[in-house]
Amino acid sequence: MLLAELGPGQKFRVLRVAFGGEIGKRLADLGFISGAEGHVVRAALFHGPMQIRLADYDLIMRRHEAKLVEIELLPQPVPVSEPASESHAVIDIRPNIAGLHPKGMRHLNRGFHRGRFGRP
């Protein structure tokens, strides 16, 4: 499923950005990475741009760019009348969604806890 297909209130988790290059890289830089979660806050009229809440911040994007983001729909949609507040529970924000998670990142997190992630 693509992010562009979603409507207001729907929650999603990013599977991947379809490809790199300028736009893909920009989306990844802004936080559209595997495992990132967010929801669609609202959309402009006639299939216009969408407002997306991604982790701690909001962004607006055209459907055209949203087509690059492959997502999976998450249950418990946020009711349209009451978009999520900007706060979250105490959460562990490491992207450790077991199956989805790229191997490289898991060993990175292991490395971090053993305190040998840096190469000065």
């Binding site: 991947r16 950005v17 490809f19 790199g20 290059g21 300028e22 736009i23 893909g24 890289k25 920009r26 989306l27 990844a28 830089d29 802004l30 936080g31 990475i33 595997s34 990132a36 806050v41 609202r42 402009a44 009229l45 006639f46 299939h47 216009g48 741009p49 407002q51 701690d56 911040y57 909001d58 962004l59 607006i60 994007m61 055209r62 760019e65 009451e82 978009p83 507040s85 900007e86 706060s87 529970a89 105490v90 959460i91 562990d92 924000i93 490491r94 992207p95 790229p102 191997k103 490289g104 990142m105 060993h107 990175l108 997190n109 490395g111 971090f112 992630f117 840096g118 190469r119 000065p120």
Partner: protein, 710 residues
Amino acid sequence: MEEKRALTIALAGNPNSGKTSIFNAITGAHHKVGNYPGVTVEKREGTIEYHGWRIHVVDLPGTYSLTAYSLDEVVARDFVLNEKPDIIVDVLDSSNLERNLYLLLQLIELGLPVAAALNMADEAAAKGILIDDKTLSKTLGVLMIPTVGSRGQGVTELLDAVIETFETHKMPRMPSYGEDIEAHIAALVRLLEQDETFAATYSPRWIAIKIIEKDPDAMRRIEQHAKAAEIHTALEAAWHWITLHYGKDAEIILSEQRYGYIHGAVAEAVHRKRLRGISLTEQLDRFVMHPLVGLPLFFFIIWAIFKLTFALGEYPVAWLEQLFGSLEGLVQNSVPAGAVRDLLINGIIHGVGGVLSFVPLIVILFFCISILEDTGYIARAAFLTDHFLHAIGLHGQSFMPLMLGFGCSVPAIMATRTLKSPKERIATILAVPFISCGGKLPIYVLLAGAFFERNASTVVMAMYASGVVLSILSTFFLRRTVLKGQSMPFVMELPPYRMPTLKGVLWHVWEKTWSYARKAGTIILAVSVLMWLITSYPKARGIQEYEIHARQSIAAEHPSLSEAAISARAEVLVRQYQLEHSIAGQFGKIFEPVIAPIGFDWKIGVALIPGLAAKELVVSTLGVLYGAPVDENSESPSLRQSLREAPDWSPRIALALMVFILVMPPCFASLATIRAEAGDKWLAFQVVYSLVLAWVISFLVSISGLVLKA
């Protein structure tokens, strides 16, 4: 007294991170605005004295990343790579830490000392985000100081941290991309280090990471490396391995690894409290961004700004006119008549007056715009209008400049600065002049009033409407030809609403006004003097004899006239005679064959020349040429009368002339602004394009007028 030690800071950070407020808090009033060499990106810098240090601060453009895809990002990283500041200070939005840390990691990779400001600490606390800055500092190897830039809190601590970092040669800890990718990076670094001059210029690790990210600029740079071929082989291997292993492009994987590293660092240092309730931003956005309420509200805001700018601006403009009027009177009385007085009055006083008459408009307009920008409304307006504007090839942020074009093109063109994408910005700049500005109205009123008496207001409205249609069509055409290309990806942050600070807004206004005066003002002044020169030189030969002759024949024809009335009439004739024999008059005659097909004679040609300086001048020049007393009043019945009675005029010609003036290049003030904002190339394009278009369209209007009559 010990000697001051010098230190250069490059200030980096995300857009909306409060970087400018930190910059203002550090430098106070001691800063200047210029451009980065060769590009239109603004560069702010300032120097302060602090505890025996002379600290020079350079504000880098606000960016989310350091790719080679956007001009701002290239400027920021080139500055660091080429100028090698002593230390980079990254301003982070604490309420949105992870995405802000993403830039910090890339700044660390540039290989210079780094310190960071955890800015908007108050906003983060309000959002229930608690940051343990000590732990975060230790993890990243970067001193992190909580600040609130808008209130100047934490700025001295930040400067202390900067000096400490510099004095102790504290280097940040390089982020890791995981064992396997690190092995590939290490292999590339070993190769890169083999060319010593290359390794001395660029940090090998930074180049290695950037080429794995397929950064076009870094790829170009390694072509100069002695072992370019071997590097390519190693690079192919790295790409191949990453794609095989992760199933995605390498540039995406590196972004994900950075975020992975950030998540790890943040997990230990950041705690969140659950907050109930809906934020104020969300409550406001339910109205402001509502599909049905949002657009009318947006139109209202634009209308209010328009009214405020041009209605409120009238007063200072009138005061300026009065001031320059009395100055003119002063010169008139104290300087003996002759070329010097003419130059002072008609060249310099009118020129400076022309430049200054735009200043009140620019001040009021940018006061409003910077409030909209600082509150975060601009992004919301883009959200609301983008869909329609994108269809014609513009951008959500093009709307405001186009609306402002109805008032005056100069501030409208300057307002396009809020647009970040170059092609859409140029397209907007080129679309603005077709919108009829206030200066074109007197011409429409004069000509429509003279030739379309009963339908005058309909004709004027039609001119305005044609301008809008033409501007849409022209943009549609240009975006598919000269300005062809994918529009910039429309992905922008929607910052929460923030209260603008008066100081920040005033700084912004001052910067814009100064840049107008510096870049456009000087040209406008020069052109005014030039215009005066070509309309009053060379002095017509035998002008004294002509005057005497004119007086005699007037007196003979109308024996009842008083001496004063005869002088007034004679003066009109003398002016006409002088203009006809001036350079401008000669130009009008030379170009007559060019405009003859439209049905214009040389007199119209002459009137159009000062029209380049300011559209209002067309009316007064026509006044001179058709012998009406010159009071620059378009309502003047005598000018209408004499135009109507002139043998070579007809409603068809009047309409064609109105169309020509609508389409022809805008006044010199606008052209100077186009040059300042878009460069010489686009200035030349605008002039040629609109001249050709003006000719073609008014020719068509004129021809169809003939056909319809037949």
